[in-house]
């Protein structure tokens, strides 16, 4: 047999090919996401039966339970799904483009840049309208800075990570200075947001993050085609007809844009962007095989991770107020250490 197993579809000028394992994996992850979402809606301090819950979801009633679902649990769940998916795609884009598993927006300081930018503009203007533009500007600036400083005839993992770390520390100091002017209560809220938290999001936040996914997502999937070819190295990618620098620029902007949107609704949640793509790859074997986009898998895994972390954070008996980011860090940090060990063993650091 010379052909790998694949599901091929053709329809007029359109055609594609997906490895069965990739398709099954993506569907399974979506199923897990649905299950976890149900659990997230169901569990909480205000007890609800399944029957009550579905009644509220499908025919609105004017009760406390209605408020709990429609104004607390559902927006929070949706922001978790949206931000997680955006972080997942954003991480996969940069990691695959730079062929470097350590180069995710949260590890190399893009998320921190977006957060600082958002905070800075909000404080300057006093209006939350400017969160997103501020996050975008901060994200783009920090990305440009990190890549500029780390570039030395190519990007080495070590330089990228260390410079990203240095930038993150510097930005944290900057944030501390900015926060010294605030009263304690606001400062405490902002601190929590800076770890990554979305305790009581508005429906406008839901609209923002899903708006971002709907507008930027298709472009990201479109670039997924080029992204797979970029894995072959600049020479072969060019030889196969890609405009490598232009593809890089587009992917960078998409990734920073998705990060900025996710950060503006959920704060710089650590490690979701870092972990989603490698997990999706390992489980779906989508790395090289076939044409199924690995981005969808990364989005699904990112959403799952975020919703699970948020669920754990809400369900703990003691810390009702711990930020979600603490739990994504507890999943992600060991993965980062493991990845670093792998890179060191490979001699890449």
């Amino acid at each position: 047999m010379t052909r790998p197993a694949a599901v091929t579809w053709r329809c007029g000028a359109f055609s594609g090919r997906v490895a069965p394992r990739t398709a099954v994996f993506t569907l399974l992850t979506l199923a897990v996401l649905v299950a976890v979402s149900g659990l997230a809606l169901y569990s909480g301090h205000y007890p609800l039966t399944v029957a009550e819950m579905s009644a509220i979801l499908f025919q609105r009633a004017d009760e406390t339970a209605d408020i709990v679902i429609w104004y607390h649990r559902l927006p929070r769940l949706l922001v978790g799904i949206g931000a997680g998916a955006a972080f997942g795609v954003s991480g996969a884009l940069i990691q695959d483009m730079l062929r470097n598993p350590l180069a995710s927006p949260d590890v190399v300081g893009f998320s921190a840049g977006a957060a600082t930018g958002a905070l800075f503009t909000v404080m300057l203007t006093g209006s939350s309208f400017w969160v997103l533009p501020g996050a975008m500007a901060g994200g783009v600036l920090s990305a440009a800075l990190v890549l500029l400083l780390a570039w030395n005839k190519g990007l080495s993992s070590a330089r990228l990570v260390l410079i990203g770390l240095a930038l993150s520390l510097f930005l944290m100091a900057l944030v501390d200075i900015m926060m010294a002017r605030l009263d304690l209560l606001t400062a405490a809220d902002i601190m929590k947001w800076l770890v990554g938290a979305f305790p009581s999001p508005e429906w406008s936040d839901v609209a923002l993050i899903f708006g971002a996914l709907i507008t930027l997502g298709p472009f990201a999937l479109w670039q997924g085609f080029a992204l797979k070819r970029m894995a072959l190295g600049d020479d072969i990618a060019t030889a196969l007809g890609l405009n490598v620098s232009r593809v890089r620029l587009k992917i960078l902007f998409l990734s920073v844009g998705l990060t900025a949107c996710a950060v503006s609704v959920a704060g710089p949640l650590p490690f979701v962007a870092f972990a989603a793509n490698p997990i999706a790859r390992r489980l779906s074997a989508a790395s090289g095989a076939c044409n199924g986009s690995p981005l969808l898998g990364a989005a699904a895994v990112g959403a799952c991770l975020t919703v699970m972390a948020d669920l754990v954070c809400r369900s703990l008996p003691i810390g009702a107020d711990l930020p979600t980011g603490i739990f994504t860090a507890m999943i992600g940090a060991p993965l980062l250490v493991w990845q670093l060990t792998l890179e060191i063993r490979k001699g890449a650091l």
């Binding site: 047999m1 010379t2 052909r3 790998p4 091929t8 053709r10 000028a13 359109f14 055609s15 594609g16 090919r17 062929r99 999937l221 479109w222 997924g224 085609f225 797979k228 070819r229 894995a231 072959l232 190295g233 020479d235 072969i236 060019t238 030889a239 196969l240 007809g241 890609l242 405009n243 790395s287 090289g288 095989a289 076939c290 044409n291």
Partner: protein
């Protein structure tokens, strides 16, 4: 489409590296439908020349014309449909399977919405068979020998289906029988499908045997060019490689055969 006199040509190519000028106002015109071989001593700039011709490197000065038009002013995808290159050392992800690598060769004919047309499937099957890699098409590159990997790459650029092929030392990692087999394949592609081939070979005897046209590089310029019988001579070998040798007609193939003294 209008037909230029030469499918691929270059003029005034100049490229300076820290070591000094590598290409120095080099000009060359590749004959259509022939096998051209570039020879020259190590580090004389053969790979650099091939990379410039395939727009993988931008020269400091000078211009490359593909079918008469400047190559860097044409759409990258259109260029890739006309010209395929096998660079000298390519590092690709080790987990990639041969089949997937070969399928990537179809990129210039694909788009995000059409990633596996019937033509793609056919071209990949044909390339796998031609390059003789069917037997291990499902193995990852990391499990292959150097020679098997080289053939997988050949299959990739065959799948690209371009009329012009640039090959940088395609015989590295191959033992002698496989070198001959590969060059026979190149010749077959040239004779049967009319492909224009430009390749770098370091073995002068193989170059003399398989070339229709030889470019001998020295000091960043094409020093001599022409049919093997005119270029592979004792005088040229001394001048280009500083090699003291005897050149006799190959008793089997009639081409010049170099015997170093």
């Amino acid at each position: 489409m209008k037909t230029a006199a030469y499918p691929l040509s270059a003029g005034g190519l100049t490229l300076t590296r820290p070591v000094g000028p590598v290409l120095d106002e080099l000009g060359l015109a590749v004959p259509r439908g022939k096998i051209s071989v570039v020879i020259g001593p190590n580090a004389c700039g053969k790979s650099t020349l091939l990379r410039c011709l395939a727009r993988l490197l931008r020269p400091d000065q000078g211009e490359v014309l593909l079918e008469g038009d400047p190559i860097d002013r044409q759409k990258p995808k259109q260029v890739a449909r006309q010209l395929a290159i096998l660079p000298q050392n390519s590092t690709v992800p080790e987990y990639l399977r041969v089949f997937d690598l070969v399928a990537r060769g179809r990129t210039p004919w694909q788009s995000p919405l059409s990633q596996w047309s019937r033509a793609d499937a056919l071209a990949v099957e044909r390339a796998l068979a031609l390059a003789g890699v069917e037997a291990y098409s499902l193995r990852p590159l990391s499990e292959l020998s150097g020679g098997q990997r080289q053939r997988a790459f050949i299959a990739m650029i065959l799948a690209q289906d371009a009329p012009i092929l640039l090959l940088d030392e395609p015989t590295t990692f191959l033992d002698l029988p496989h070198q001959i087999e590969l060059l026979d394949l190149v010749r077959k592609l040239n004779r049967e499908s009319g492909k224009t081939v430009v390749m770098v070979l370091h073995d002068i005897n193989l170059a003399a045997r398989f070339a229709d046209h030889v470019f001998a590089l020295k000091d960043g310029k094409v020093n001599r060019e022409g049919a093997p019988a005119d270029v592979v001579t004792e005088a040229t070998m001394r001048q280009i490689f500083a090699l003291d040798c005897l050149v006799i007609p190959d008793p089997l193939h009639g081409c010049p055969h170099v015997i170093p003294r």
